[in-house]
C-alpha cells in the first residue's frame, strides 16, 4: 500500500487548549485524519464529514462534524484531490458540487475584473477626452487681445534665427498678399502682422494673435508668388483657429487657461511664452496641420488664388527634403508631404471652377530683395 499524502492544514477542536492548531492531514478510505505538531490526533469518517469551501481565499476546504465541534481544513488543492481519490460516491458528489460552485465563482470573478478594468479604461479615456474638450472650450473664453499680447511677447523674446528686416519693398509685397487673403476672410478675427527674417530657412510660422514670420529663404525658394500666398494662408489658418492657444491650453491645463483669463499673467504666461518660443516653428499637431492645409485651400480659392500652389510648394519641399533620412522625416510633427500634396489636390479639385486673378506684385524684384540667391539645398 502506498504511503498517504501529507497535506498542510489545520484543526478547530474543542479538545485543543487554544481551540485551533496547525496540523498535517491525511486522507484514506475511512475519512480525513489530522495530527498536530504536538502529536494530538483527530479523525472524521466519511459518514461524519460535512464538506464546505470558503475561508478568506475562498478556496479553503473544510470537513466538519454535524455539531462543528471538530473541523479539519486545508487551503491546499491536494485536499480535494485526495478526497476525490479516496471518498465514497456520496462524498464525491458533494466534491463535484462544490468544485462546480468554485468554477462559477471564478468565472464571476473574471467577469467582475473585466468589467472593472473596462470601467477604469472608460474613465481614463473619458477623462482625457473631457479634459481635451474642456481645454478647447476654455480657449474660446479667452479674449483675442490675449492672443495678440502673447504672440507679440513671444516674437519679441524668441530667437528667430536671423535678423528681422525692415525692408519696405519686401514688407509691402507680403502685405499685399496678406491683404488679399484677409479680404477673403483668412485669419478671421485677427489682423495679420507680417515680418521678414533674413535666414536661409525655407519656412514660415505663425504666433497667436496674427504675428507671422516669413524667412527670406522661403521667398527665395518659392517658384511663384502664389506659393508664398499659399504658405501665408496656411499660417493664417493657425492664427484664426487659435492652434497655438489650444496647444498652450492642453499643456498648462484647463485651470491654467482660466487663470490666464482672470489675469494671472505671471507664472502661467511665462510658461505659455516658453512653449510658444520653443515650439513655434514646428510644434502644431498633425491634425492642426491638416486643418490649416484644408483652410488654406478654401481661403486661397475665395481670394481667387490658385489653391494648387500649396501642393506645388509642398512638392518643392519634398524635392529639397530628399536627402533627409526617412526616419527623420517621419519624426516631424508635420504630416507626410506626399499625403499633404494628395489631400490639397483632392480639396482643390472638389472646389467649384474659378479663374485665378494674378497677384499684383513684382515677384522677381521681391526675390531679389530677399537675397536673390537660391537657399542652400539639404541634398546638394
Amino acid at each position: 500500500m502506498s504511503e498517504l499524502q501529507e497535506i498542510q492544514g489545520g484543526v478547530f477542536s474543542t479538545q485543543l487548549s487554544t481551540g485551533r492548531a496547525g496540523a498535517t492531514l491525511r486522507v484514506n478510505a475511512d475519512g480525513v485524519h489530522a495530527i498536530t505538531a504536538e502529536g494530538q490526533q483527530f479523525q472524521l469518517t466519511w459518514g461524519d464529514c460535512q464538506l464546505e469551501v470558503g475561508g478568506a481565499s475562498g478556496r479553503m476546504w473544510f470537513c466538519s462534524d454535524a455539531a462543528r465541534s471538530l473541523t479539519l481544513f486545508s487551503e491546499s488543492p491536494q485536499l480535494p484531490a485526495a478526497i476525490r481519490a479516496a471518498a465514497p460516491p456520496p462524498v464525491l458528489a458533494r466534491v463535484q458540487q462544490l468544485e462546480a460552485e468554485l468554477q462559477r465563482k471564478a468565472r464571476r470573478a473574471r467577469l467582475g475584473w473585466a468589467v472593472f478594468l473596462g470601467v477604469c479604461l472608460l474613465v481614463i479615456l473619458g477623462g482625457y477626452a473631457g479634459l481635451r474638450h474642456a481645454a478647447r472650450a476654455s480657449v474660446s473664453l479667452v479674449p483675442h487681445s490675449l492672443d495678440e499680447k502673447l504672440g507679440r511677447l513671444a516674437l519679441d523674446s524668441m530667437d528667430l534665427g536671423g535678423k528681422r528686416l525692415d525692408d519696405k519693398q519686401l514688407l509691402d509685397g507680403l502685405r499685399a498678399i496678406g491683404e488679399r487673403l484677409r479680404a477673403a476672410d483668412a485669419g478671421r478675427g485677427f489682423t495679420p502682422k507680417l515680418h521678414v527674417v533674413d535666414a536661409d530657412i525655407v519656412n514660415a510660422f505663425a504666433l497667436p494673435g496674427g504675428e507671422v514670420v516669413v524667412y527670406t529663404g522661403l521667398i527665395r525658394a518659392a517658384d511663384r508668388p502664389e506659393q508664398l500666398a499659399a504658405v501665408l494662408a496656411h499660417e493664417l489658418s493657425h492664427v484664426a483657429r487659435r492652434h497655438g492657444m489650444h496647444r498652450i491650453a492642453q499643456t498648462v491645463g484647463v485651470v491654467g487657461t482660466v487663470q490666464l483669463l482672470f489675469g494671472d499673467v505671471s507664472g502661467l504666461s511665462a510658461a505659455a511664452l516658453a512653449l510658444l518660443r520653443e515650439g513655434a516653428i514646428n510644434a502644431y499637431s498633425r491634425d492642426q496641420e491638416r486643418e490649416a492645409d484644408s483652410d488654406a485651400v478654401a481661403s486661397l480659392s475665395r481670394a481667387k488664388i490658385d489653391p494648387r500652389a500649396l501642393a506645388d510648394f509642398f512638392a518643392l519641399l519634398q524635392r529639397r527634403d530628399k536627402g533627409l533620412p526617412s526616419a527623420l522625416r517621419w519624426l516631424g510633427t508635420h504630416p507626410d508631404l506626399g499625403e499633404r500634396i494628395a489631400a490639397v489636390q483632392r480639396a482643390a479639385a472638389a472646389l467649384p471652377p474659378h479663374t485665378p486673378v494674378a497677384l499684383e506684385l513684382d515677384w522677381k524684384a521681391l526675390q531679389a530683395r530677399a537675397g536673390g540667391r537660391t537657399a542652400p539645398a539639404i541634398d546638394p
Partner: protein, 218 residues
C-alpha cells in the same frame, strides 16, 4: 520570554522580559522603553521587496526592529493609538492582520503580505493584509477595546472595526440593509464574515474619529 500586557484596555503596553539569547521582532517605532542591555538591530523583514510591499500596502514600516540581549533585560512596546493589545499563539496556523495592527512577534513567526481583494478594499480595509504564520506568539493592537469572537456561521462587522482574523474566515462586503437604510442609517458598507474561525474586532474606529474631528475643524 515572558510577557505582560499592562494598563489595559485604554493604554495597553506590552512588557517583554527577555532572558539571555532571546530575541523578538517588533514594529519599527513601537519601543517605548528598554533596559540598556537590549540591543536593537533594524532589518527588512522577509527581504527588501517584501518589506517594501508591507510598507506600501500593509500599512507597516519598511524596517522591523530585532531586539535581543546577551544578558537579559526588559522592554516596553506600545502602539500609536490608545487601545488594547492581544496575544495569539500560533501553532502552525496563520492569522491575517489589518494594516497597522502588528506590534511584535517571536522570531519563529514568519510575516508575509497577502492579497485581500477588491471587496476588502471597497470596505476600506485595504487591498493587502499582513499574514503571520508558523509557530510562536504574535502581539497586535487596536483602537479601543479588542473583542474576540468565535464565528461559526455569519457575523456582520462595520468596516474599519476589523483588526485580525483567521484565514478560515471568509469576507464579503455588503450593504447594512436596503439601499435607503444603508444610506441613512450611517452604517453604509459592512463586512459579512463567515466562519469557522476567530476574529478580533476593535471597539472604536479611527476613521469614525477622523470624520468626527474633521466635522469640528471648521
Amino acid at each position: 520570554m515572558e510577557y505582560e500586557i499592562r494598563n489595559r484596555p485604554a493604554f495597553a503596553n506590552l512588557l517583554l522580559r527577555l532572558t539571555r539569547g532571546e530575541r523578538v521582532l517588533a514594529e519599527s517605532g513601537a519601543m517605548a522603553s528598554m533596559s540598556s542591555s537590549i540591543q536593537v538591530r533594524s532589518r527588512f523583514s522577509g527581504g527588501f521587496f517584501m518589506a517594501l510591499l508591507r510598507k506600501l500596502f500593509g500599512g507597516e514600516s519598511l524596517f522591523m526592529n530585532e531586539l535581543s540581549t546577551d544578558s537579559g533585560g526588559e522592554l516596553v512596546l506600545t502602539q500609536p493609538t490608545p487601545g488594547d493589545m492581544e496575544c495569539m499563539e500560533l501553532k502552525g496556523q496563520a492569522l491575517f492582520l489589518q494594516a497597522g495592527a502588528f506590534i511584535a512577534c517571536d522570531t519563529s513567526v514568519s510575516l508575509s503580505l497577502g492579497w485581500a481583494g477588491i471587496r476588502s478594499w471597497l470596505a476600506r480595509e485595504g487591498l493587502f493584509r499582513l499574514k503571520v504564520s508558523g509557530t510562536g506568539r504574535v502581539w497586535f493592537g487596536g483602537y479601543g477595546g479588542i473583542l474576540t469572537k468565535e464565528i461559526q456561521s455569519e457575523y456582520v462587522v462595520d468596516s474599519s472595526h476589523l483588526v485580525a482574523y483567521e484565514p478560515s474566515i471568509s469576507l464579503k462586503v455588503g450593504l447594512s440593509g436596503g439601499v435607503a437604510t444603508s444610506l441613512f442609517s450611517g452604517e453604509g458598507l459592512v463586512m459579512r464574515l463567515r466562519g469557522p474561525g476567530r476574529v478580533y474586532l476593535q471597539s472604536r474606529s479611527i476613521d469614525a474619529l477622523a470624520a468626527w474631528v474633521n466635522s469640528h475643524i471648521y
